[in-house]
């Protein structure tokens, strides 16, 4: 399989300035062409699920409706992810013009950014930026207005249909799919929901062109990605890297020399032990990530890590569906019981089956991914759970 050397890129945080100019250019071009370019670029959503962005925009463009919406998902709640915050702090114009571009392409005149409550301190600056841009859009003849909505401390509202429910003033309970938001989203109108970083990427593609963009990354994972690196790392923080590197290279660069495991993709991602660093590719062909990379060295107890995640999930599950609501509680109580020797270690095998059931039967991505961390930690660090 194709892998890339670890290489730094500097596109996302390049100084702002050309956004309106780029947008203006796109206004005069055929929207279908840009969709083709976007699809060709291979850009997949940066929020975790990895849906082809161009295809999403195409579906929304084709949907017939008197009103459509563009929503920027800035709910960034995945433990260990903080790149969207950094983007919004440093290059918000790129995000907002990306949304406007999307609006132009799909035929939406209204854009919302859904900002998590934890980032509310950013709001004054963002609002100012949006107000300026609203004026500038008008000046270049683009009918598109930006507005802001806030989360209120619920991780699951990062899931796009829960986010929409929340914007509609309801509990953030994910919807049944189909229908998908591109046909029935906010207020049942066609809606594009994209991640903050995804919108920036669309602006980059419209600036450098899809051919240039395609040079980055691998066949399955085009482009670059922001990584939020934390834990036992020599360098913590945000790094923009080409997709497709091996985890071994990554650990070489960022680990503290004593790395035992890396949690790729946050609590809903996978735990990779040292022995698998070499074979693990960071990207859609290997382990995809919304950007969270947490590094653990040998002093860390993987029991504590797992316990922490399960506690997170049992609180943050929306609670509507059985596998997730009850499953999370059972997994947490289960490892506690094994630790306290109230249950034999073979109970972990029952729990592994349960985790599998949750993966395939939960209603949304939250419940479906609890098993990722659970299975990968139990498989690789079973003795740490039991003893």
């Amino acid at each position: 399989m194709e892998t890339k050397q670890l290489s730094r890129v500097d596109l996302i945080f390049k100084p702002e300035g050309k956004e309106i100019e780029l947008l203006k250019k796109k206004l005069n071009e055929d929207g279908d062409d840009f969709i083709l370019e976007l699809i060709d670029s291979g850009l997949k959503g940066r929020g975790g699920a990895g849906f082809l962005t161009g295809l999403k925009w195409k579906l929304a463009r084709e949907a017939k409706a008197d009103q459509k919406y563009v929503i920027c998902n800035a709910d960034e709640g995945e433990p260990g992810t903080f790149k969207d915050r950094e983007i919004l702090e440093r290059v918000p114009r790129k995000v907002f013009t990306g949304m406007a571009l999307c609006g132009h392409i799909v035929g939406a005149t209204k854009g919302y950014i859904y900002l998590r409550a934890e980032y509310k301190y950013l709001a004054p600056k963002l609002k100012k930026c949006m107000a300026d841009l609203n004026d500038e859009f008008k000046k270049i003849g683009l009918e598109f207005t930006l507005d802001i909505r806030y989360g209120s401390g619920a991780y699951v509202c990062g899931e796009e249909t829960a986010l929409i429910e929340s914007m509609e003033g309801k509990r953030g309970e994910p919807r049944n799919k189909p229908p998908f938001p591109v046909t029935e989203g906010y207020l049942n109108k066609p809606t594009v929901v994209n991640n903050v970083e995804t919108f920036v990427n669309t602006m980059i593609i419209s600036e450098i062109g899809f051919k240039e963009y395609k040079k980055l990354g691998t066949d399955h994972s085009r482009g670059m990605k922001l990584f939020s690196i934390s834990g036992d790392a020599v360098k913590e923080g945000i790094f923009e890297l080409e997709l497709g590197m091996s985890l071994a290279d990554f650990v070489e660069e960022f680990g503290d020399g004593d790395t035992k495991a890396v949690q790729v993709g946050g609590a809903s991602g996978f735990c990779v032990p040292r022995k698998k660093f070499k074979e693990t590719i960071i990207g859609f062909e290997g382990i995809p990530t919304g950007g969270s990379m947490k590094i653990f060295n040998s002093s860390r107890s993987m029991y504590n890590v797992l316990h922490n995640y399960l506690d997170f999930f049992q609180e943050e599950s929306c609670g509507q569906c059985t596998p997730c609501r009850v499953g999370c509680q059972q997994l947490l109580l289960g490892i506690e019981a094994v630790k306290r020797r109230e249950r034999p270690s073979s109970y972990l095998d029952e729990l592994m089956k349960l985790a599998d059931t949750m993966k395939i039967s939960a209603k949304c991505g939250l419940g479906q991914s609890v098993g990722n961390a659970f299975v990968s930690i139990i498989e690789n660090f079973r003795e740490e759970i039991v003893y």
Binding site: A154, R171, N176, P178, G319, T322, L354, K363
Partner: protein
């Protein structure tokens, strides 16, 4: 049409059909819990999962529309393993003390657990961690969170069918639960006691407050005369609990069973249903006269019916300003209660303090109604105990009565006679039809101009219906009604009532007379009726009601000889002094929030 296979059997179904419904077309049952025919799709319990060949994740069959060339497996190993796990999870969160549970024997969760033989509870019992409380504050319903599987059927019922939203989902994650406003006792919130949530709760988490032991004790007490009345809708549904098909009328067997249970008098609420028509019909005509002839501004029209206590509590909370529109007639149950401890006591020479008045109702709201302080006009609590159809069935079973084999019997004399008009009170539109049969004839001297007295425009299951009757060639004393087009509307289910009353409040609707029943389908779909319920079941019960009506010799309330007799002997005339005292009541504004 969409082509697919289910368990390798090819079929084609209409676009938009769910996988669940498609499977049903093959007579394949997929287990469900959160799904209910009356409600929107939730897709949250996940027991209905099926496998789509080639896909990793299972699909919730209730929430997934069919797609071309889908290959569905409803019972693969993957499906079974997941489904079993899910049922186990539900049970781990559930206080499974079936032997002590009111729903024992008629519980969807129990049936499913039984079907899957989930004997060895593998997971941790979560109940000790949850500190659930049982809410017994309401005289009508009990809420036991330890039995709740969080399917949200009750919440959807209360919102979609009833428009009340007394129940909501609160909190999230492991703390998620079904809650009233700030988790206050049900008796203190806007709940109408309609019991529709009970009818759709798949477990014992929501059940009626039952008074079976109290009634047995009264029956066993030799110093008491226990008089029972039975509402019209009971007789077309009781059979469902006792081995009959849906839609079978069991009036005669019910009467026989009541006697065998030991009730001293077996009477019929239908009698006071006829009386209600006399009183309410007269009230309507009086209001019309005052409005049309006297131009009295203080008269409120449209007048609405008042026989549904769920509706009464709803309007008291929601439209207190429209309370003057509500007929002052008590519900038939309460008229009956007031008469049993006065007229009937006199006639039978029984001291009213020794009478225990029991009513068998399709309704849970009537339990609350019986306990209203307004309902003591006989000098005693007019109705002592209200049992639902379900509770009566339990008593019959407890007494070892072989219901299927009973010979039919007739109600007692005095307050046991009734007409077809009273019977149709049990169906939505029935009160309207009965009232029209009498009022039209009273005013014109002729029968209503509908074939065989069947006023079909007011029948049916449409949520809100309108009808109008033009009154012509009236008798001289009613000349003010000559040519008047009497405009009527009917709503059943409180969400529909809500819509209708909003139109009345805003002045968009100019009706004269409105019938409202709190429950979908009317009393035949009441909160105390056999479980399960569905549109099909309610339709069958309605059919049975109209058949009962057609089969009766008397079809018009004013023809009931016992009604004539009670006016002669006791009440005087409709809306007279005595009527006012015993048969009419007043309402109180309650807080909406």
């Amino acid at each position: 049409m969409i082509n697919l296979t289910i368990n390798n059997i090819p079929l084609s179904v209409e676009e938009g059909t769910t996988v669940l419904d498609a499977a049903r077309q093959l007579n394949l049952r997929i287990p469900t819990l959160c799904y209910h025919e009356d409600l929107c799709i939730a897709g949250n319990c996940r027991v209905c999962v099926v496998e789509q060949v080639g896909m990793r994740n299972l699909l919730a069959s209730c929430a997934t529309p069919v797609r071309e060339n889908m290959q569905i497996l409803t019972n693969s190993m993957k499906v079974r393993q997941a489904r079993k796990n899910i049922i186990e999870l539900l049970l781990s969160e559930h206080n499974s003390d079936c032997t002590k549970c009111y729903k024992n024997g008629n519980c969807e969760l129990q049936t499913m657990a039984n079907e899957y033989r989930t004997g060895n509870h593998i997971y941790t019992d979560l109940i000790p961690l949850k500190h659930n409380k049982v809410d017994v504050s309401s005289p009508s319903i009990m809420k036991d969170d330890s039995k709740c599987i969080r399917c949200q059927r009750c919440v959807r019922t209360c919102a979609e069918l009833q428009g009340v939203n007394a129940l909501a989902v609160a909190h999230k994650g492991h703390e998620m639960k079904i809650s009233s406003f700030y988790d206050k006792p049900m008796h203190e919130v806007v709940c109408t006691n309609c019991g529709q949530c009970i009818n759709r709760c798949p477990t014992g988490a929501l059940v009626e407050r039952n008074y079976i032991e109290e009634v047995w004790n009264a029956i066993y007490d030799p110093t008491k005369h226990v008089a029972v009345q039975t509402a019209p809708a009971v007789r077309v549904a009781l059979g469902e609990e006792l081995g009959f098909e849906v839609g079978e009328r069991v009036t005669g067997k019910m009467v026989a069973a009541l006697r065998r249970l030991g009730f001293n008098s077996v009477l019929d609420t239908d009698f006071t249903a006829d009386l209600t028509i006399m009183e309410e019909g007269t009230e309507l005509l009086t209001r019309l006269k005052k409005a049309l002839v006297d131009k009295d501004q203080s008269v409120t029209l449209p007048m609405t019916t008042s026989c549904s206590p769920g509706w009464i509590k709803f309007i008291e909370h929601t439209y207190p300003n429209l309370l003057p529109n509500v007929s002052t007639c008590k519900s038939p149950q309460q008229m009956f209660g007031a008469l049993v401890k006065t007229y009937y006591a006199q006639k039978k020479n029984i001291n009213p303090k020794d009478i225990v008045s029991v009513s068998i109702m399709p309704c849970t709201a009537k339990k609350f109604e019986a306990q209203r302080p307004e309902m003591r006009d006989s000098g005693y609590q007019d109705v002592d105990y209200v049992l639902t159809t379900r509770e009566l069935a339990i008593m019959i079973k407890q007494a070892g009565i072989e219901f299927l084999k009973l010979e039919d019997e007739k109600f007692d004399r005095f307050m046991g006679d009734s007409t077809g008009a009273a019977v149709i009170f049990g169906a939505t539109g029935g009160v309207m039809e009965a009232a029209l049969r009498t009022a039209y004839e009273l005013v014109t001297g002729r029968e209503v101009p509908f074939e065989n007295l069947n006023i079909t425009p007011v029948r049916g299951m449409e949520g809100v219906r309108e009808a109008s009757v033009t009154i012509a060639n009236v008798l001289p004393e009613w000349s003010f009604l000559e040519g008047v087009e009497l405009k009527c509307a009917i709503a059943h289910g409180l969400a529909n009532a809500h819509k209708l009353m909003a139109a009345v409040e805003s002045g968009d609707a100019n009706y004269h007379f409105i019938e409202v029943m709190a429950c979908p389908g009317g009393c035949l779909g009441g909160g105390g009726q056999p479980i399960p319920t569905s549109p099909e079941i309610r339709n069958k019960r309605a059919k049975a009601i109209y058949a009962e009506d057609e089969g009766l010799p008397m079809r018009k309330s004013h023809e009931n000889p016992e009604v004539t007799q009670i006016y002669e002997e006791f009440l005087g005339h409709p809306l007279g002094h005595k009527s006012h005292e015993l048969l009419h009541t007043h309402y109180r504004a309650r807080k909406r929030y």
